[in-house]
Amino acid sequence: MTLFRTRPLLKLVSQYQSAVVLPAATKIHTSAFLQAWKPEDHEPQKFLEYNKKIYPPQSPDEAPRPAFVCHQRSNIKYSPWKMWYIACLVRGMTVDEAIKQLKFVLMKGAKDVRETIEEARDLAVKEHNVEFASNLWVAESFVGKGHVVKGIRRHGRARFGRVEYFHCHYFVRLEEGKPPKHYYQHHPKEPHQQLEDWLQQMRKRKITNSI
């Protein structure tokens, strides 16, 4: 025997549901649940957090911090190891040059990379306080592995093989200003720099146990 009647109680709850339950529900962080139920729709979040960071104001004698925009495209149906070649091509180029070169790359992933860079350029002008769209260069360009769908295929003589359908994420960071002359640290040195280094090495020599 219940102390309370359940039906009127439920009616009461349903009346106040819209007022009480929903505001509380919206405060619950649901992304963890979504990730658990549908991991293939999960998109990487950490790279875009860089966009939200607010830097403190700079002092006048400090070198001006160039504006940048981080953008990504998730779960592109392409192999991450093949996409890596396209990402490497674009590193250190101006956005105009990057888009122009990507038009002539005969690979499936080049289309997605070009669209991502174009979107990033538009975002930079709209939201990230970049004055000229052409004054941007590709500071970072890299690939991550996305959702993998696994399947089986049959070979001859009743042998079975595993088939994996890869997706990839493409990340790009555009920075304002002119690109550096050499993107990587290990670049061939200028002749005058080589000469200076050689002279330094020659002068560093010492006869052991001498003054």
Partner: protein, 198 residues
């Protein structure tokens, strides 16, 4: 009585022999009976336990790498070699820019964006001609005119020709001079008429 005693003695001797034999086959004789200077291996441990590996061998570890891939092999696979096949993408330095529309294209090719416009316009002209002529045989010359071009010309101009009209203005890039015939009558005068240069 003597017979059974003999039998009993025989049996006893046989048992003794078996006992002695078992001492020597299964295990070494006790310390007192062993020869000095000879290693005695006490086979106290049992035979190694039976495992599937004896039958299958290393079958369950097939198709698995046995050694770490060196950095040289990894780099050769990813980058290739500059003298043989360089796997990294190289930016193209031979791209040309179209003077008309500003888009880039490979050398030896008409600007694709401009050419696409030409293809579309050609299709419009062809559709208009097909609609006009349908299946009748082409005996006379066919002239395609855009909006406002028929009124400017006199009636005799189109005497031996079939007219196809397209109800839209002439595209800016489509010069009227392009419609000059390749086979022309020899010139009567040496004056050059600067007409229809559009």
């Amino acid at each position: 009585m003597a017979g059974s005693l003999l039998i009993r003695i025989n049996v006893a001797i046989q048992r003794l022999e078996l006992a002695i034999a078992s001492v020597f086959t299964r295990r070494f004789p006790p310390d007192g009976f062993c020869l000095a200077g000879v290693d005695v291996q006490e086979r106290l441990h049992q035979k190694p336990a039976f495992s599937l590996k004896d039958i299958v061998g290393d079958g369950f570890v097939w198709a698995v790498p046995t050694a770490r891939r060196t950095i040289e092999r990894r780099m050769k696979r990813r980058f290739g070699h500059p003298d043989y096949i360089w796997k990294m993408l190289k930016p193209k330095t031979n791209l040309r820019t179209c003077n008309v529309c500003g888009d880039d294209h490979l050398p030896g090719v008409l600007c694709p964006t401009c050419y696409k416009k030409v293809i579309e316009e050609t299709k419009v002209m062809q559709d208009a001609i097909q609609q006009e002529l349908q299946l009748s045989p082409v005996e006379k010359e066919v002239v395609v005119l855009y909006e406002g071009e028929k009124d400017g010309k006199p009636e005799e101009f189109f005497e031996g020709k079939r007219i196809v009209e397209i109800p839209k203005p002439r595209p800016a890039w489509f010069s009227k001079n392009l419609l000059q015939q390749t086979t022309q009558q020899p010139a009567t005068t040496s004056d050059v008429k600067p007409s229809d240069l559009g």
